[in-house]
Assembly symmetry: C2
Homo-oligomer: 557 residues x 2
């Protein structure tokens, strides 16, 4: 965006805000936020950020609870073999690199090395894995799986291990197949925008590569510094740009995957159109590694927009949030690239952790972050200016601020993306990632808060187990993140929340997992979003692709 | 687009063209094209056209060749029962409407009524069907299929019957299940843009409904006046706007379908995000009715762009076409909604049939049609003007014209969409719908032409069986339509073409069916685009969903 365009926008905004509000809050406030967030905080970037390191959060100590303890109903499948020295010897001889095998079977001293692969970053799920394999090629993945299938050894495919539902860590002694060594960008066609890359490529690394070519990965999410594109595809990640670029079911052109029996499925199509038979790759998108391990991905990347703008608003009601969304869709149309929602509760938690002031003066029940991306800075500025004037004049939004440069863009985004991190600093969180028809989206937060409050569990002082019930998410995709922040574990909380939340969603034909997937966490709740016919068909698919059930057991279905 | 913006653009174009070309060709020329095209011609419309009536082309006479004669290798599957009076009685008692059963089993006089359901619009495929059923509800579809599955009666699901590969007409005596009575729009959410409608809705009717709401169906194609949205989804239709709105795999949110045994699969999700298990609906998208009959569709519709522009260019080489495409992607970016390619040969055939002059003076080896759609007419005009000036000045395009109003927009589109119709007036056509990496896209036409010529089959006079080898298609999607226009049937032509064309495509990892599907025509050629592992997995899927194989037999796999 040109400087002239920016200052034009700012003055329009200031003029309007001055008419109703006392003064323009200092832009500096927002800048401080980023600086004061912990090093491992979620900072969204446009090609320049350091990778987010989930591993800098403390790993699970010996006192961390095992998933098998948290979920006592899940029993180890006795059909699976126990790992022996003979198995380890086979894998050692198979894998080309010495560092490709972390062996806790014959070497008890390796337990610490294995721990990061056994646990998720939230310290919520923890397995009993004793063997980690890091294949370096599709052929190695194939040979590992063929052997495991023959020997009835269960496995867990693992990408960046940034998931939220326990899908990428073992429950019992499953072998972890970690994809981090398969991390090459294979080819990129600068005319069509088609990228082919290994599954173990880190999303941000790929996006930075694409930036040098004038393209963008059609997916963006907070964990971009750690997550793998193979994991993104396996979990059908949604994230921040689905509103603009659509789902991975539309953008992924092809995959290469290895089935449970070692068969390599080469469907690495690089074409946008290919109507030759069932589109089998679609089954792997969102299958969470239960029918095969994705080894390569071919994806259609859009051109990177040279002009980017971010605005941040305060609004007085959810009704006004909906009006703002309709206006943004109508007026910003083809340049709208994100419309994110945060409630005051979620922002208060960010303020509490970061000790920073909001980018806006005063508090509002709701906040929205709007991003535009376009090819012409002046045109975008003009559209955004007209939109700002319109929504301020109509009283749809109460206050707003506009990022003046890339640093401020990141800073405003941190108020949205920093919520997850802030919550994790405050204790345990019950996280629900749901999709609900837009009209009732926020009602779930209000109903849940009222229910927790009525049960006497919610309060500002230490005697109450629940600190806050907050909501935020991807408004543009009708995707709400309902988070219940707790001070300590109290079994009454979960009883108040479940199955209430799931029943509430099912009654509105919503989804109990909009983008996080099923994993361990939601395996038993799939019936709230899928009928028995669908679940039965899914089990047929699972049995067709993985008859021995060795791929990511105890999860998903 | 405002008048001021239009005239600004026109004068920019005229100024540039005058500098290199003698005069500005009359816009009237283009207008005449539409008027002189036959009534059944393909006219693209923006909500006002008459539906295209494929049925006004003569139906097949008694002398039309049966598919079973053209494909003598296909034998009737003896596991299927022969239709009896008892079967007909059952269907009569089942279906609520008298007109829902066209019975040629007990009434030989019904043969003429059945003929349109037995034959495709190109008169290339013709079956021996004696019973047409038109269910009025999902429950009726379910009961029909349950009965057929029990009695081993084969069926063919049929939408608007506008396909090009023989997928929607019977080969032998399969029962036609025609979906035209299930044609209701069920609901539309004006905030999210989610539409739910019966499978038998005609695409153009749905699009006209959406126009009144300020939305657009995310798919457009020449047959919109006849084709059904259920058929579009079943064949994963691509069409003219895939470049902008992506494939149906991304835009379809849910389906309702009936399996071979009558089970109703209710996956009519209305949410953009739903990660609860395998995305089974994806298998039905492009399955051509072989694993179930789609009865309802839920789809995400984008907002309709108020500003629309169409430009038509002449270019001197395919290299320049590629450069123009890159420039258009870069400069028109988020407003580019179509980039279509036509070679001079294809345009010559349109001129020959319509007796009209080209919208451009003189001839060029290649023509491109560029469409933009955006929310701000002045901004779009400015972007398009800059693009026009740039590509004319750089000599990327040799000449161009710009539509001045909606009538001219339709007229320019007719030069692209009229090709299929023009070809059908000139005799038989060998049609190949292929996807090839962009760089080599047109090479297939040149290589094919050279090969036909070398065989002594191509010429301007009647002694040669081949009139022309032409290419056109959706450049933006790397989707070429290679058409060989013939004067008469000559078995040497097919021998020269096949398997040459398929081998040529396979060598470049292209697709032998970009958007038309497999049907009868390409069933035996799937191996050129899919490896044996993939085909084997597909057959597993088919057997899982339709173990008796009653759904659309003799096709697809």
């Amino acid at each position: 965006m040109t400087m002239a365009a920016r200052s034009q926008l700012t003055s329009a905004l200031r003029r309007l805000r001055l008419a109703r509000i006392s003064a323009n809050p200092s832009r500096q406030v927002a800048l401080e936020l980023e600086q004061s967030l912990p090093r491992s905080s979620v900072i969204r970037c446009f090609g320049t950020s350091r990778p987010r390191s989930f591993r800098t959060t403390p790993t699970v100590s010996a006192t961390g609870k095992f998933t098998s303890e948290s979920y006592p109903d899940i029993k180890r499948d006795s059909r699976f073999a126990q790992l022996t020295e003979e198995h380890v010897d086979y894998f050692r001889s198979l894998l080309s690199s010495e560092s490709a095998v972390i062996d806790g079977v014959t070497n008890e001293g390796a337990a610490d090395d294995i721990e990061p692969f056994n646990s998720d970053w939230m310290r919520k799920y923890r397995g009993h894995c004793k063997l980690v394999l890091k294949p370096g090629s599709t052929e190695e993945v194939s040979q590992i799986l063929r052997y495991c299938n023959d020997k009835m050894l269960a496995v867990v495919p693992q990408g960046g291990n940034t998931g939220l539902v326990g899908g990428s860590v073992p429950v019992f002694d499953e072998i972890v197949i970690n994809m981090s060594r398969m991390n090459q960008i294979i080819e990129f066609d600068e005319v069509s925008g088609t990228l082919v890359a290994d599954a173990g490529c880190i999303l941000e690394v790929v996006d930075q590569f694409l930036a040098t070519k004038g393209y963008i990965f059609p997916l963006d999410l907070g964990a971009k510094g750690s997550c793998h594109i193979g994991g993104n595809v396996s979990t059908n990640a949604g994230g921040l740009r689905l509103l603009r670029y659509g789902s991975l079911h539309g953008t992924v052109l092809g995959i290469e995957a290895v089935l449970a029996d070692g068969t390599v499925v080469d469907d690495l199509c690089k074409l946008r159109k290919n109507n030759t038979g069932y589109d089998l790759k679609q089954l792997f998108i969102g299958a969470e590694g239960t029918i095969g391990i994705i080894t390569k991905v071919s994806i259609h990347c859009p051109q990177r927009s040279p002009a980017q703008n971010v605005a941040f608003f305060g609004l007085e009601s959810f009704d006004k949030v909906q009006r703002a969304f309709r206006e943004a869709k109508g007026q910003l149309s083809e340049i709208l690239s994100a419309f994110e929602l945060m409630d005051e509760g979620s922002q208060a938690l960010v303020r509490q952790v970061t000790k920073n002031e909001s980018p806006l003066e005063g508090q509002h029940p709701f906040y929205c972050l709007i991003e535009t991306s376009g090819s012409n800075a002046d045109h975008d500025s003009e559209k955004l200016q007209a939109f700002l004037e319109d929504v301020l004049e109509k009283g749809v939004v109460a206050d707003g601020t506009l990022a003046q440069d890339e640093t401020q863009i990141k800073t405003l985004w941190a108020w949205r993306e920093g919520i997850t991190e802030a919550l994790s600093h405050l204790g345990g969180t019950y996280k629900y990632d749901v999709s609900i028809p837009l009209k009732e989206l926020y009602q779930l937060v209000e109903d849940t808060r009222a229910r927790v409050d009525a049960a006497g569990l919610l309060g500002d002082t230490d005697e109450y187990p629940v600190r806050a019930v907050v909501g935020y998410g991807h408004m543009g995709d009708a995707n709400l993140h309902l988070n219940i922040s707790t001070r300590r574990f109290d079994e009454r909380v979960e009883k108040v929340l479940e199955p209430f939340v799931y029943e509430w969603i099912a009654a509105r034909q919503g989804s109990i997992s909009a983008e996080h997937g099923l994993g361990v966490m939601k395996k038993k709740f799939i019936g709230y979003s899928r009928n028995p016919t669908m679940v039965g068909l899914m089990k047929n698919i699972k049995n067709t692709f993985d008859p021995n059930g060795i791929l990511n057991p105890y999860k998903y279905l």
